[in-house]
Symmetry: C3
Subunit: 361 residues, 3 copies
């Protein structure tokens, strides 16, 4: 690997002098330019990001070596409109090869942008750069991830992030939504935690389980108030199944893989397979403090410690949080953990300091 | 732990002198009182039960230590009507902390009754009592289970039972049902069988698989006759997936998590995730002897012995059972194994001697 | 076992002199006779096949002992019409007992043909013959497999094959289909590869993953052209879950277990449980080279080697295959790997040389 090239990329040298709308710390620069006229005319979203060797730490003890998009797990939020142009300059600063597959994107006429090594492109070698350009379609809850050695790179090295494509013509229930949340479920095998380039073998024991790369109690509450209508975008980002149960409500499963279901399905539990996404709409009509968790019971473990992993709490603002028994009574609230604040911003590409790993090497 | 308190509870001392409608052996007393007037006016169902250290034995050899609600696995049947009041006095006679989460109950205005330790209540410590009071809604196939250290307490210690809430306004197909059956699927890891307070770790090998806590050939047949319309209420009560296949029929999947699907789905196999429930309706139009089993093949093992686990047989009364090759030709029939008899009784809370464990200590 | 009987069966001696429409190499003879009059009058399909000890080799190194129907994995294609009569003479030439369960067939009035040992018949012992006779119904994507010691015989010994029953009254979208493909997903545990009669225990590590018994790169592409409408019949033939993702298209999930869904479901990923089948319809409107793969990442492993297992490629004829980076640029194309050619032939029972194992002993 050409280390001078690597340094140049890391320091941002060599970026084109484009009209930058959002300067993004730690890994990229983004630009968005509407083509003109109507606010809904196709825009072009340009972004440059690195794949970096980083580490993330779960529940204060277990560290994992990650190959992080823009240095973070999950990767940056891509929030664009159906029909927009996306252009991503991807620099591989790690010692292994990678790509990005834009999971769910049709890539009409741009199959070479699909990110599958050996099929649609040569993998991006260390020190190399690849530019992905495509039109964002169809609308909905999509995502992206590495497609090289997926057994290791995806779940175990954190190479995934959300791609939300707003529809030109939203369906009725979408217009009622007051809060939009991204929850990407994944799992980790501590046996391979620091062994970058290895692991992800059949029979591996996954022993850490995360929402957006964090395990309870280091996840964050979902804070709502009565009358809110929240959309929870659930992603099977690793290789495991996840059976997500929400207490105190019957919710509606409205979208699968970004596409509206023929009719919403009422449920209190929704099971996701690897790669699937379900969007559920939940009407906040029942003030309380409500668990959201994976009902695969061992997915609530942090290694050998119970009551962790894939758990969080919907907190209504009508309910004080000061019960002495409440584990999160003194929880420091970190907004935007579910990208809920970024999703209220203008369309664009958003990094998130919350998810930033520690640089390695 | 206060052992005198423990004894008092075990012997039932201290129960309020309420009008008891059903004296229940081995674990509780129940009362139900309709508020007056119409038979469909809300009733109040009161029940007192203990959590007890017990053991259950699978296929005559493998014993598991359970923390059993009312001393049985599954726990008692709660069969109430939408809008009824439920009041459960729960005494913890074991040496570990527990709760009950009423999975699927909305708990409108009663979130502190939701049974999640550290979130909605302090866990119920050994020797302590907690009273759950809530309105039964929504209607449908619900259940209850402990929410403390779910990785161990739920699947491996048998802390689960059925909660059936009859709808005020049943849908058409429900009115056709002639037999109603509860099938709760779960799994067990023999490595931890007698190590109460341990186990349920990521990577554990589950090697026993049960319907209502029993493995084939110790499950029971489902006896029907031509013309019957049976409702099978299927529960993912443990942490595993279960892919339930029924021979000789196309059935309809009508409810998920207690809620009617937008339209019934025809199938011969239905997959359940942890925590999910599916109600299927099967029209008995094909006299024969038909397997019902988990198609996850290793879930038909009893330890290392094949053709056990999650298997049962639908037996039509039109078909003699005397074939010499038939493994159940001399089977002793135990009605109410699927709570099918209790479900024909007036609404109330029913224990079931079939599921009773052996007291420990 | 009576070895002279075994030899006689293997050499085909003793077959009735029936009007044979298709002489089939390596394992059977088939006959089909329409009853007369209309082409759609019920036909009778007769077939004789052996269960044979064979071995198949995955990715040039890992050999598995199989008990193969007609000596092949998957077994022969049964392609008949709803209402047709099927008659299969099954000779067990192996040293263990077996049956065939016709998964999904109603067996109205013929429950003794359902193939469950100890329930509907005595297992077919070594050297014995059993004749299955039944009416093919309902229509759709069905399959067959052994029902003896399913934990070992099904996934690990390859005892499964497709049974496609054409409907008398196809639904609209079926009539648009230009290509029909069978993809049976399964998995293998190399620890037991050569230990016939053992294996399939709880906790086994499955480390090979196949489509129609082959792992990438030894699977075959699906070759289409713009305008094609393809039907992919997906089978959960082993015991694992499979979360099948197709790139570059939104497809429609139209059938579950052979039965039409109330409404098609749009998706880019479909999860199958053991025993389930989903038929998806994909409109070929996007020329390119598109991965089809299991999104359970470790299911793309061949043992410890990444990027194998359950992967294939949809190749449009509009796209040259000569990219130097393309792993299949010099792939030898083997048509009928998905039984797509057999499915265009007249109804009947088809063996497939592609799936033929090597005889053992």
């Amino acid at each position: 690997m050409d280390m001078s090239r690597r340094s140049a990329l890391a320091s941002g040298i060599g970026l084109a002098a484009v009209p930058v709308l959002a300067e993004i710390a730690g890994g990229g620069r983004a630009e968005a330019r509407a083509s003109s006229g109507s606010a809904k005319a196709p825009a072009t979203h340009k972004f440059e990001m690195n794949i970096e060797d980083t580490s993330i730490t779960l529940v204060d003890k277990q560290t994992f070596h990650t190959f992080a998009y823009a240095g973070q797990v999950p990767g940056p939020l891509f929030h664009v409109r159906e029909g927009d142009q996306v252009e991503v300059t991807l620099n591989n600063l790690t010692a292994l090869s990678h790509t990005i597959h834009w999971h769910g994107v049709l890539q009409r006429g741009t199959w070479q942008m699909d990110g599958v090594p050996g099929i649609t492109q040569k993998a991006i070698d260390p020190g190399e750069t690849f530019v992905y350009k495509y039109v964002a379609e169809p609308s909905g809850t999509l995502w992206y991830h590495c497609h090289v050695n997926v057994n290791e790179h995806v779940a175990m090295r954190g190479m995934w992030g959300p791609l939300i494509i707003e529809p030109k013509n939203p369906i009725k229930i979408e217009k009622e939504v007051t809060g939009d949340y991204i929850l990407m479920f994944s799992e980790w095998a501590s046996a391979w935690a620091d062994k970058a380039g290895q692991g992800g073998l059949p029979g591996d024991v996954f022993d850490y389980f995360t929402i957006n790369g964090r395990a309870y109690p280091e996840t964050q509450p979902i804070r709502v108030k009565k009358g809110d209508v929240i959309r929870l975008r659930l992603f099977g980002a690793g290789e495991g199944m996840h059976s997500i149960h929400i207490h105190g409500h019957v919710f509606e499963i409205v979208f699968k893989d970004g596409r509206p279901l023929p009719a919403p399905i009422e449920a209190d539990t929704v099971m996701l397979g690897a790669g699937e996404r379900y969007d559920v709409i939940l009407r906040c009509d029942n003030p309380g403090r409500w668990m959201v968790h994976d009902h695969i019971d061992s997915h609530t473990m942090n290694g050998h410690t119970p009551m962790g992993g894939i758990m969080t709490v919907i907190e209504y603002e009508e309910i004080p949080r000061d019960d002495t028994f409440y584990e999160w009574s003194k929880k420091e609230f970190v907004p935007n953990f579910y990208y809920e604040e970024s999703l209220k911003q203008p369309l664009g590409i958003y990094t998130n300091a919350v998810f930033k790993g520690k640089a390695i090497g």
